[in-house]
């Protein structure tokens, strides 16, 4: 591994002490100095970052790379390439693989594949209940000791509130964070779009906003009862935001994230049964979209994730309700974040904090900030117009409604633990 100097980049470093134009010195994968070469680098490679934004590598709170078990859809290798092309250096790995990640051995397997691929770092989330059955709590402490960063039941329902309470209590005792996907499945009732104008018009079974917000309310109140560190995943409607805001004002320390695509589309995009817009939770009304954009600009929702879900072609080749949900969006996560800045939804510093220091803080990991002594996970971004064309997609999943979109920024280099893992050529 070469020593590196990133010269004259404009450092955007939310939560860090240093920002503005600086040189960064990297040795053995560690940032050893900013503007000062403390140990005399050994014939370093110099990266000219003049006129570039230099920021911490992105921390993505939810990805599915499909391995093990669903390699026909995607692999850790293919999706890691896509991730680093968007500046992502740490991914949170969801446990709904085949088999499900509910044992220490499964965690180690995933970590080992990431080490072999050697592009970005992984934090594995393990299953909150055994086999994701929503009924028997998993061996949480064993999973934590094996490296699980948090526990989640993904989209699978928890049997009842008593199981959720017990899971939260047990996790709380061992200081384990729970990532909770709020959805009341009785109310969702096999729906596939937001219950509203479009579900009505297209005759597609709808999921009311209340299916999410009722689950949010239950989870918030149970987190107060149990003291668990609760993170709410993929918020999509304005009632949930109101509840989270209210929780914050009464001192309940719940955190929340939103999927990047939820900041760009509402239910109207589904018109004409376009399967690329089949996501979970569904795209909601234009009022919900406006409220989510407002909540992300404040401190109500502190993180944005890709919610990357690659599929092979067959998964989307069916009538809307029979097609698989999800978007393979990781490789445009950063360009889309910059688009939010261009749209004046957030300032640059806030926008970058949503994918770096804030998610790192939610996970309780020492990354997401550029500082002396920390791991050299860095993204360098250039202003440049480009079009996201189908032929350029690195992910195995081509299920992406952003294909054909013009962007004004692109990732120029990604550095993970001091190694250049992506270069735009």
């Amino acid at each position: 591994m070469n020593d590196l100097i990133i010269k004259s980049g404009n450092l955007v470093n939310p939560g860090g002490d240093i920002s503005g134009v600086h040189d960064i010195y990297i040795k053995d994968g560690i940032i050893i100095g900013i503007d000062e070469d403390t140990t005399k680098l050994n014939s370093p490679e110099i990266i000219d970052a003049e006129d570039c934004i230099v920021c911490p590598g992105l921390v993505d709170l939810s990805v599915r790379f499909r391995e093990p078990g669903l390699e026909k859809e995607a692999t850790i290798l293919s999706e890691s390439k896509a991730a680093v092309s968007s500046g992502v250096t740490t991914v949170c790995y969801m446990p709904d693989t085949q088999p499900i990640i509910d044992t220490p051995a499964q965690i180690k397997l995933v970590e080992d594949i990431f080490k072999t691929v050697n592009l970005c770092k992984v934090k594995v989330l393990a299953s909150l209940t055994k086999d994701l059955d929503g009924n028997r709590i998993s061996p949480m402490m064993e999973l934590k000791q094996a490296g699980a960063i948090a526990l989640t039941n993904c989209y699978n329902p928890i049997k009842d509130l008593l199981v959720l309470r017990r899971a939260m209590e047990y996790a709380s005792g061992h200081e384990i964070t729970i990532f909770y996907q709020p959805q009341n499945n009785c109310l969702a009732n096999y729906g596939c779009v937001h219950e509203g104008k479009i579900s009505n018009k297209l005759g597609l079974p709808g999921i009311p906003s209340a299916a999410e917000s009722i689950a949010v309310a239950e989870a918030i109140l149970l987190s107060k009862l149990t003291g668990v560190k609760l993170h709410l995943c993929r918020i999509s409607c304005l009632e949930s935001i109101m509840l989270i805001k209210n929780a914050h004002s009464t001192g309940i320390k719940v955190t929340a994230d939103v999927a990047i695509h939820q900041l760009f589309f509402d239910e109207n995009s589904i018109n004409n049964f376009n399967n690329d817009f089949h996501v979970m939770p569904p795209f909601r009304s234009s009022e919900d979209l406006a409220e989510i954009r407002s909540a992300i600009s404040k401190k109500i929702i502190t993180a944005i994730c890709s919610d990357h879900q690659p599929h092979n072609e067959d998964a989307k080749q069916a009538p809307f309700s029979d097609s698989q949900f999800g978007i393979a969006s990781i490789e445009i996560l950063f360009p889309l974040i910059m688009e939010l800045v261009d749209l004046n939804i957030m300032d640059l510093n806030t926008a970058i904090s949503k994918v770096t220091s804030n998610p790192a803080h939610i996970l309780g990991i020492d990354t997401g900030i550029i500082k002396k002594g920390s791991s050299a996970d860095i993204c360098i971004l250039k202003k440049e117009d480009w079009v996201f064309g189908q032929e350029k997609i690195l992910s195995s999943g081509k299920n992406n409604p952003f294909i054909g979109k013009k962007f004004s920024s692109r990732v120029y280099k990604t550095i993970c633990e001091g190694k250049i893992v992506y270069e735009h050529k």
Binding site: N200, K201, L202, G203, L204, F273, A318, D322
Partner: protein, 327 residues
Amino acid sequence: MSENIEIGLDQNIKQSDIVSQKHLRHFLDIENLPKSLILDILDLAESFAGVSGQPVKKVPLLRGKTIVNLFFEASTRTRTTFELAAKRLSADFLNINMDYSATRKGETLLDTLRNLEAMHCDMFIVRHPSSGAAEFISKNVSQNISIINAGDGRHAHPTQAMLDIFTIRKYFPDFKKIKVAIVGDILHSRVARSLMHALRILEVPDIRVIGPKTLLPNGVEHMGVTSYVDMDEGIKGCDVVIMLRLQNERMNSSFIPDEHEYYNLYGFSPKRLDLISKKGIVMHPGPVNRGVEISSEVADGDRSVILQQVSNGIAVRMAILSLSMQP
């Protein structure tokens, strides 16, 4: 015969729906059809209506063409009227009843299509339990094949809506002067959705939907209709009342308490005839649940046009088939 029909093109129509002034590419939905085209289809159907009364019930319009009924869901009326319509147009006709659960397990919908395409058919008439299935199929078949939507999930049943408005026009030639009510399970009804579009496009000034709140979609007013929970208030002064079939499975999933209460609140009983306009008619797309959504006296009475709807179905479907067949 279709060669003599001039179909006006509207600015709003989707390009994909129409290939020329005289042909539809597919017939999937009513929502985007221009008013002039809907009226042209009705006029053409009018000219076909006489064919069924002739000693030789055939016209040679689609001779040499092959039409396939591709039904992934059970149907009697729609399937047979399409079959008769195709045969009266002299087309070769094939009925394929797909077991939807079997296709779900193994062969995908696309595989099924590819196989049928390989048999060089010209048109598929598709019924499928998933909303958007006809649209999906139309995007995935080769250029020379037309798709007719015979009902997709809860989304659309455009030929049923066309035959309903054809029947209405027989009694009320001026759509701009009538009040129409649709009663029953609006939430799950593809017929209701297509009818709401058709009536709106034809500028019917007063369109009402009536049912318990569990069976009225949230925000149905976006479709340009007024909703009523009280049937007596809703049908008052209406010229056309379209009763929808109540599907039995709804009873067991807490949409309604029981048949008895449903009939009392939303069943078309003889005394409710007094509430509609003097010349008002009662319609039903079939099959009828007698004593649940409509009494036998009304269904078989002189205000009912239920059987005319069935016969009109053949002429209207002949018109749609002939306009949608690629040259």
